[in-house]
């Protein structure tokens, strides 16, 4: 079986990700690495969703952190102000994000070109401003603390617990995304990416398909946002900020647009690198930029697709 076929096989891919989640802790020198692992998985979840939108349907969202913010503040505001259980707020947040994506996307996705990018940019900023200004509800720019996740008396506490919660959810997110790609909807989305006009004359309702995948990707981001808030126990409007949105887009591009595996790799690189580079102190940001640029120059298709292509070519020789 070729590497490409292997990467695209749903069962193999799910098993591979599950194996990564299970095996990784054996190499952790300290408990701190569980924290990094959990963060990687949480961001990877949001990136998988965004990759469905960007890599498969070919639409760019520059405000995806807005949905991250909605998810995060749902599990903060719900329990603190309304006494709702956290797990219920997590689902409510995802549904709210989906509804907001529907409202934002419906008028825009009928248009062609980069209107979605511009509109989502505005949407992301709007969410961040609302979260900053509605201080009574959100605590303003200082943010608010988030009560921990509790299920039937069991409380999710500690980095290792969250490592497993995020890991299991990520495997689930992978499976759903891979399922989608191997279905009528998935084929339609990829078709739209390559030629909207050809997709339309084959009976595909382009605007509706784009809206569907936009809603799905928003819900992925929302769940990731809820996890982030529950894990950290504290949340600030920065979670929904413009930089976060750009970071998510960078993770998609770095890992590889259209590569579900790339989502995990892209998230891992951009979460782990800043941690590793802290030893360089003030040069950290500059080095980070340099490395990302290097990746994009030498692995233009993104890390996973480029390496897969290189390996396939090398095998043929």
């Amino acid at each position: 079986m070729s590497l490409r076929a292997l990467l695209e096989n749903r069962l193999m891919a799910a098993i591979a990700v599950a194996a990564i989640v299970v095996i990784l802790p054996y190499f952790f020198p300290s408990a701190y690495y569980y924290r990094i692992g959990a963060l990687v998985f949480i961001f990877a979840l949001a990136v998988v969703g965004l990759n469905l939108l960007m890599g498969f349907a070919g639409q760019v969202s520059l405000g995806h952190a807005g949905f991250l913010g909605i998810g995060a503040y749902s599990v903060a505001i719900g329990p603190v102000h309304f006494g709702m259980p956290s797990w219920l707020c997590l689902f409510a947040g995802a549904i709210l994000s989906g509804a907001v994506a529907f409202a934002v996307g419906r008028p825009i996705l009928k248009l062609k070109g980069h209107y979605l990018a511009v509109a989502t940019l505005g949407f992301g900023l709007l969410v961040a401003i609302v979260l900053t200004n509605e201080a009574i509800l959100t605590g303003g720019p200082d943010g608010m603390s988030v009560p921990g996740l509790a299920l039937f008396g069991w409380r999710a506490r500690g980095s290792d617990t969250w490592y497993w919660i995020a890991g299991v959810t990520l495997v689930g997110g992978f499976v759903l995304a891979l399922n989608l790609m191997e279905s009528s909807t998935g084929r339609a989305l990829q078709a739209i990416h390559d030629s909207e006009i050809a997709a339309r004359v084959l009976g595909i309702d382009v605007a509706r398909k784009k809206l569907t995948v936009f809603i799905i990707s928003a819900m992925y981001a929302s769940v990731a946002g809820s996890y982030l808030a529950l894990f950290n126990g504290h949340i600030t409007p920065d979670a929904a900020g413009f930089l976060r949105s750009i970071e998510l887009v960078a993770m998609v591009v770095l890992g590889g647009m259209g590569s579900i595996f790339g989502s995990l790799v892209g998230a891992a690189v951009l979460v782990v690198l800043p941690q590793a580079l802290t030893i360089f102190h003030e040069y950290e940001q500059a080095l980070l930029g340099l490395i990302v640029m290097g990746f994009m120059i030498f692995l233009r298709q993104g890390i996973v697709p480029s390496l897969a292509a290189a390996l396939a070519g090398w095998r043929k020789c």
């Binding site: 399922n179 279905s183 009528s184 339609a188 990829q190 390559d194 339309r200 009976g203």
Partner: protein, 262 residues
């Protein structure tokens, strides 16, 4: 029975009347060709019929129902499919996957079933793949299904587009210059494919510059010149119409031609 009718279709682009009161009626099971010099509005007429452009005036009926102003995807779901003069291939997908997209209007699973990979999705994928393979075999690409679409030769891509449109099981198929840029062997292959399509009762509307192909295969030919109907008739009638010769060769050219034949 008339399967496709256009009644006094008109469209103008910034004052230029690209199509000016053109009417066509196409009987079921025919090969109906639209010819004319460059810029006479053939592709524009195709774009009007397939819903890509909205006509300023006039109406279109498909299988007896008025479909004027319907979006391309709605028309496709009513059985009108088309190919493109400049190829519109899904180049990131495999050859087979391209044709599988053509089955979209026959696929029924909802988004939840797709996400959860319900048993219906597996069954549907299987059926879609089978139908796509059959469509590929019809255009002679049975062995190329697993190749990346971008790696096919030009003539094969032309046939791939036809297979993709065929997979949607259209009642009317619009082919926009299927033989353009093809060598004689490839053109012959297209000829064979079109004949087999018609044999299945699919009505073919053809825009084509290759006159040998057009004259060989058409039941009726509609001639456009500067966005207007010049004439319509059987290949013999059109071939011997002095007005047709004139628009193709110009007044001077047609005099030369007449002298040459004397």
């Amino acid at each position: 029975m008339l399967i496709l009718e256009a009644d006094r279709l008109s469209i103008a682009f910034g004052g230029v009347r690209a199509i000016d009161e053109v009417s066509i009626s196409i009987a079921s099971g025919q090969v109906f060709s639209i010819i004319g010099p460059n810029g006479s509005g053939k592709t524009t007429l195709f774009n009007l019929i397939s819903g890509i452009y909205l006509p300023n005036d006039g109406s279109i009926r498909l299988a007896g129902e008025t479909v004027t102003g319907l979006a391309p995807d709605r028309l496709a779901r009513r059985g009108l499919s088309r190919t493109f003069q400049n190829l519109q291939i899904f180049s990131r997908m495999s050859v087979l996957e391209n044709v599988m997209v053509g089955r979209h209007r026959h696929e029924r699973t909802g988004i939840l079933a797709d996400l959860l990979h319900a048993p219906t999705v597996s069954r549907q994928n299987l059926a879609t793949r089978e139908a796509a393979r059959a469509a590929l075999a019809r255009v002679g690409l049975a062995n190329d299904g697993d190749r990346s679409a971008g790696s096919l030769a030009y003539g094969a891509l032309k046939r791939l587009e036809i297979a993709r449109a065929l997979a949607s099981e259209p009642i009317v198929l619009l082919l926009d210059e299927p033989a353009a840029g093809c060598n004689p062997v490839e053109t012959q292959e297209i000829d064979r494919v079109i004949r087999s399509i018609v044999k299945d009762g699919i009505t073919v509307v053809l825009v084509e510059h290759d006159m040998r192909l057009v004259m060989n295969i058409s039941d009726r030919i509609h001639v456009l010149a500067s966005g207007r109907t010049l004439t319509e008739g059987t290949p013999e009638q059109v071939r011997s119409d002095p007005a047709v010769v004139q628009v193709y060769l110009g007044v001077h050219g047609s005099q030369e031609a007449a002298r040459a034949f004397d």
